[in-house]
Amino acid sequence: MKQGLIRILKPSLLLSLLAFNNAASTLAESILLKNGTVHTITMGDMEQGDVLIENNRISLVARSIDTPADQVIDLEGKHLYPGMIAMTTTLGLLEINAVRSTLDTTEVGQWTPEILSWRAINPDSELIPVARANGITHAQPIPLGGRLSGQSSVIQLDGWTIEDLMIRPAAGLHLFWPSMSLNHTPKALSHNFSSWKNPKEQAKERKTQIAQITEFFESAKAYVRRKDADDSTLAVPNWESTRAWVKGDIPLFIHANEKRQIKSAVEWSMEEKYSMVLVGGRDAWMLADLLARNEIPVIYEHTFTLPQQDVAPYDVQFKAPKVLVDAGVQVIFSEGSNRFAASAVRNLPNSAAQAVAFGLDKNMAIKGLTIHPAQLLGLEKVLGSIETGKEASLIALNGELLDIRAQVTHMWIQGKPVSLSSRHTRLYEKYRNRPRKHTEN
């Protein structure tokens, strides 16, 4: 039996989370958005359409709505989309990468499932409004460090407190798959002589590391079984933190990039009958069929990575999403978690746009920013498309979402208008209005 399937997410859990949220930010007013091009994502595009927001929800999507509303906004010439979801990001967990005191991205230890990313999110991070300004309404911050770094959370990008931001405190376990490629650096050139390993040792090590992973998950399951059978068993925080995964409530995100690393991770998870989400996926296109066959979604972080193999074509990473989608793999775009990623997460649509320039269907690309991530997080009933009953987290732009020139003009999160100003716009306005310097002559 497959474990951790997100498609069988327990409705009870979801509902309780929603209730928790609504309590935090209830707005009674209704808003009618008129005459915009409505990109519903799931039901096609409406050249000129109206969307009615009531009680934070989308209550109606139609060609024309005449219901009176507290507020009517004319979106003529504008494009309306669901807000984008920034997957596998460090947004909120760091402020300035080079300043150590502002970093909360990484914990020590190899096996730390009890680490939850939401606990360190700074709601007042200057990076959050900057991300919002380009249309990102939700994010999945992930913890880094170690083999099993912990659990990601899902947040919305507007709220007074960390609890206002919370959508899901635990959205999945993050497992960083061991490298399957040999380190070719000769001993003489290696930076650390003592940790250098010869190829045989390296080959042995990769097997050992996989065995350790298997062992960890087996032990976790054994613990939960025992605890369930005998309530007097004392809790162990580390194992207890895996309970949601053992029960199939949260998925396993496996981070892997290199071809054999991905292959190894997929084979392992198939053998163990665990469902997985592949994160990173640099070389995933080479295994498109394997991924499709096993219905493994890919969170692709490498649109703009340079080709890593010298026989690869120059556009290999640009084309990868098309190759994957053509094979039947669900592709979700992410800017990843490198040192520049949180401050540049606003470029998320550009990654998808580049894939479109190199062949990916435009609608699939946009789904990879909206409904597909929502499905992956078990939030497809709430987020990711413009449909009656969904949460009104929307953005309007003066062009298409994938047009790099387009500007976001409006944003609503849970039906509440959200400011698009940021440190950037404030400084821009300030210095734009600096009086001209008068030179003598």
Binding site: H184, P199, D310, R405, T425, T439
Partner: protein
């Protein structure tokens, strides 16, 4: 009467046995030994019936070689032994002149040495050093307080050192060499950049006083940054080259008529270089990479130095550049062997480049020989010297003519070492150094060496018997190797660059032309190009009546055409380090010295429409190195990439990087450590430059002594004279403003402010000064000083009259500068046409090349890009990139390229796996494995940064 050969055989062998018992000490004995010691044997011998290789071009069959008193007396075709000589019947044997290794590198402790990049060396430079090149700020923090004695100011520059200062050429080394037929080696020192003098030694067993043939050894220069103290200049490849250049300049000054000099103090380092400058002593240079071999060659030509180059074995990368080197090449035979990899899949991850390197390596000697190079062979970096003959055979199987091989082991190295008079051939009067091989051929490894003679003394090969046995057994085993796969499967990298033909006349019709000129955007416009230049831009152009030559008309209906994109800030094509980050001013180092023409980054960026890159030094110091502006003419060598008409520039930097804010807590003593100190540093250096300038102008007008040439000062004077443009890495408004004011005081207009993230706060001042603002949109918040960076900066500065460009500073972004330009539309509503100028006309203006490039205008270079749609639309892709009327990128050729390279890799993998299958599993020791590993995966310097993104801080 001569005994029959079988009996002789027995006697020869018996002798071998005896002499090995008495050990080699006998050779030192005087003719009349003290009582109790056997006297030295007579030295008068006739070798009858052998094939004698007198010289590479002369073999005498069935000849008699006569030697006496350690010298050759005669070689004659008769079978007459000299009367009174000891007679050796050598029918069925071949005699070779003794081999000479011109580059036998030994460290003072006698351990085997591999220099340049292949081993990490210890940092115990204990050579003399003194001087002043240590502008480090804090008293007591100088790297070199000068108490080591006179000499160069750098601990890695010690040309006065002699290998004879540390005698490490031990008996064991000599025996190993003799058993391969080597009778002399040129000992080379192992440490530093200017390593010192070598010496030629024989390989016999005697006291050093008898072995050393010449202490007029060669000088040595190695392009390495591994030696020297931890923070000591130079630590980058470009720094190494600059240090060599400065040292040679000083040596030139030193040898000049003393009356011309400011002060003629004695300096043993410079004194030691006198014969080098005079052309008397040759220098052996180990450049460590193919491109650097070419660079070393041009550097030596400038100084008129005689030199020889130690080949890397990777000459296959750029045979065209290597061909231009007019110097002997000393070639190691350390061809990589196939390492055992744990799984078959591990091979798939091995790059084409490494596979090529493995497949090409044995062909290196043949390749160089075919180019007409004078060739010498060396055991250098061959870890297991016993494999020498096997490797040599590989080289011969791959086309090295035997005659050339003999010359490469005898006459060429003899000449290199200046010992042609006494070694290299078996001509009367030369030393009786030779090797007796059983059979017809040294180059057949199974033919055992019977003995090696040095100075007329016999050194039998103890392994002779067992070699004979072993070889006859081996023969059966190895039968089917080297048949099907003996030929080369790897292609030449030059084949990756299909021949590029420039049509004499080129007419492009019906494109949407983004002219980046006063003409704006022309719908359905035409572009006429002849001989690489734009002749006309307009509508409905016709081919001219005049002589068209080869002619091409392209219908570009529905497509967009822009000028070639220009990146005013790049580090993508730099090798051996982006920063010379040791001293706060490294104005003497030059990016031009280390342009990497072999990196795939050039290709990837061309594929995004980039045609020009401003390669800048990093930002580790307030005054960095000199820049190089290149055109991305993929396939050209470093010199061919240079945009020759572009004026010189230099990288400066302000802020966190130069004050070492993020370098770790132990970096706190280099000046400057604060933004207060940075301008002080500039004032200091430019004032020093004014002094230097004045001293030279006084000297030139006949007053005062000739000042010492100083390459740092030369460069700063060029800035003062307005001949070199500053490109200054900068972030905060305060530091930028202060910097502009300081430079204004010295009468210097700044070329560009790079990154200039807070430039939007002082746009008026920047515009007023006239500095260009070369910025980017998205880099912010990754360190504290970029916290106020905003994506609107470009648009805002442009609005307020500054000259704005967008740069990449990133090997990925440089592939899509058109989309960077589009961000000026998004952030700040810059009109599209103006936004494109941010990556075409404006960077050209900033780099002072706008009279030639940056727009589609009559008379300018035909550098342009054809796009599938608007260049500012994310959905558009680059279809073709042209530079000076030559197409360097298109989609069809790209497909072909991928197909050929993928196919090539598949074939090489097949070959490598097949050959790996022959390897004997059990016999490989840990050390052998490590050796194979190290040679096989020795990534070329040119390929070390593939797939990596280089920034200022790297």
């Amino acid at each position: 009467m001569k005994p029959n050969s079988n009996r002789w055989q027995a006697i020869l062998t018996g002798l071998a046995f005896c002499s090995s018992l008495i050990t080699y000490a006998n050779d030192n004995r005087p003719a009349v030994a003290p009582p109790g010691h056997p006297p030295r044997p007579q030295g008068f011998h006739s070798f009858v019936g052998a094939n004698v290789i007198v010289s590479p071009s002369l073999t005498v069959t069935n000849a008699t070689l006569v030697i006496n008193n350690g010298k050759v007396v005669s070689v004659s075709p008769s079978k007459e032994a000299a009367s009174g000589s000891r007679i050796w019947d050598l029918k069925g044997y071949t005699i070779y002149p003794g081999f000479i290794d011109p580059y036998y590198v030994i460290s003072p402790d006698g351990s085997p040495v591999m220099t340049t990049r292949t081993t990490a060396e210890d940092h115990d430079a204990d050579h003399k050093a003194s001087g002043h090149w240590n502008f480090y700020g804090m008293p007591g923090d100088e790297l070199d307080p000068g108490d080591m004695g006179p000499g160069s100011s750098l601990s890695t520059v010690h040309p006065e050192y002699s290998v004879l200062d540390d005698w490490a050429f031990k008996s064991g080394h000599r025996e190993g060499l003799r058993n391969l037929g080597f009778t002399a080696v040129h000992l080379s020192p192992s440490k530093g950049i200017f390593r010192g003098k070598g010496a030629v030694s024989l390989t016999g067993e005697a006291s050093p006083n008898e072995l050393i043939q010449s202490n007029e050894g060669l000088q040595h220069i190695v392009f390495t940054s591994r030696d020297g103290k931890a923070n000591e200049y130079p630590k980058s490849l470009m720094g190494v080259i600059s240090a060599i250049r400065q040292t040679l300049l000083e040596a030139q000054d030193f040898t000049r008529n003393p009356s011309q000099n400011t002060s003629q103090v004695y300096n043993p380092s410079l004194k030691a270089l006198e014969p080098v400058i005079g052309g008397k002593t040759r220098v052996l240079i180990e450049p460590g990479s193919v491109l650097m071999a070419s660079r070393a060659s041009s550097l030596m030509e400038v100084f008129g130095v005689r030199y020889g180059i130690i080949a890397t074995g990777q000459e296959w990368r750029r045979p065209d550049l290597i061909k231009q080197i007019e110097a002997p090449m000393i070639v190691p035979v350390n061809f990589p062997e196939i390492p055992k990899l744990p799984e078959d899949d591990d091979w798939e991850a091995v790059s084409l480049d490494l596979l090529r390197n493995w497949d090409w390596a044995p062909e290196t000697p043949a390749l160089l020989a075919s180019q007409g190079h004078q060739l010498a062979l060396t055991l250098y970096s061959l870890n297991d010297q016993k494999k020498f003959r096997e490797k040599l055979k590989q080289a011969i199987d791959r086309g090295l003519p035997k005659q050339t091989a003999i010359a490469a082991l005898t006459t060429v190295p003899a000449e290199l070492c200046g010992l042609s008079e006494s070694m290299g051939t078996l001509v009367a009067g030369k030393l009786a150094n030779f090797t007796i091989v059983k059979g017809e051929d040294y180059f057949t490894p199974k033919n055992p060496i019977e003995s090696t003679w040095v100075q007329g003394r016999r050194y039998p090969n103890n392994q002779f018997e067992s070699d004979q046995d072993k070889n006859s057994k081996d023969e059966n085993k190895k039968k089917d190797i080297n048949t099907e796969y003996s030929k080369r499967f790897a292609r030449s990298p030059l084949e990756d660059h299909p021949s590029k033909q420039r049509p004499d006349t080129l007419l492009i019709k019906n494109a949407t032309l983004w002219t980046s000129s006063f003409m704006g955007i022309l719908e359905r416009g035409d572009l006429l190009i002849q001989h690489g230049h734009i002749i006309e831009v307009g509508k409905n152009l016709e081919l001219p009546e005049s002589d068209l030559g080869s002619c091409l008309v392209i219908d570009a209906t529905g497509k967009h055409l822009t000028p070639g994109l220009i990146d005013a800030h790049s580090h993508s094509m730099i090798m051996g380090g982006v920063n010379e980050g040791t001293m706060p001013s490294t104005a003497m180092v030059r990016i031009e010295d280390v342009i990497n023409s072999e990196t795939d980054n050039i290709y990837y960026q061309l594929a995004g429409g980039l045609t020009i890159a401003n390669l800048l030094h990093g930002s580790a110091n307030p005054i960095g190195g000199q820049n190089a502006i290149i055109k991305l003419k993929w396939g050209e060598g470093p010199d061919g990439l240079m945009f020759k008409e572009a004026p010189g520039g230099i990288k400066f930097a302000l802020g966190e990087n130069v004050k070492q804010s993020n370098w770790g807590d132990n970096k706190k003593t280099r000046f400057p450590q604060s933004r207060m100190g940075v301008p002080v540093f500039y004032e200091n250096r430019f004032t020093a430059a004014q002094h230097y300038q004045q001293a030279w102008s006084r000297f030139k007008s006949g007053h005062g002594a000739r000042p010492k040439r100083d390459l740092e000062m030369d460069c700063l004077v060029e800035i003062l004279e307005g001949k070199r443009w500053i490109h200054c890495h900068s972030y905060r408004q305060d530091e930028i403003l202060v910097f502009l004011r300081v430079m204004e005081r010295f009468g210097v207009q700044v070329g560009t402010l790079q990154h200039v993230l807070e430039g939007y706060k002082i746009a008026d001042e920047i515009a007023e000064h006239g500095a260009g603002a070369s910025c980017f949109t998205d880099w912010w918040a990754y360190k504290f000083e970029v916290i106020d960076a905003i994506p609107y900066a470009g648009s805002l500065m442009h609005e307020r009259g500054a000259l704005v460009s967008f740069n990449s500073d990133d090997s990925d972004l440089a592939r899509r500068m058109n989309l960077e330009a589009a961000k000026a539309v998004k952030y700040g509503n810059t009109p599209p046409e103006e936004a494109l100028n941010f990556v075409t006309r404006y960077p050209a203006q900033q780099l002072r090349i706008d009279h030639l490039v940056g727009s589609l205008e009559k008379g300018k270079h035909a550098d342009f890009v054809l796009w599938s749609g608007s260049p500012l639309d994310s959905r558009s892709t680059c279809l073709e990139t042209w530079i000076e009327g030559v197409k360097y990128f298109d989609l069809y050729t790209d497909k072909e390229r991928t197909k050929l390279r993928t196919g090539e890799k598949a074939k090489l993998l097949e070959k490598v796996k097949k050959e790996a299958g022959y390897q004997n599993e059990s016999t490989e020791s840990e050390e052998e494995m490590e050796q194979k590993w190290r040679h096989f995966f020795n990534l070329a310097l040119e390929k070390q940064n593939e797939g990596r993104i280089l920034h200022c801080d790297d």
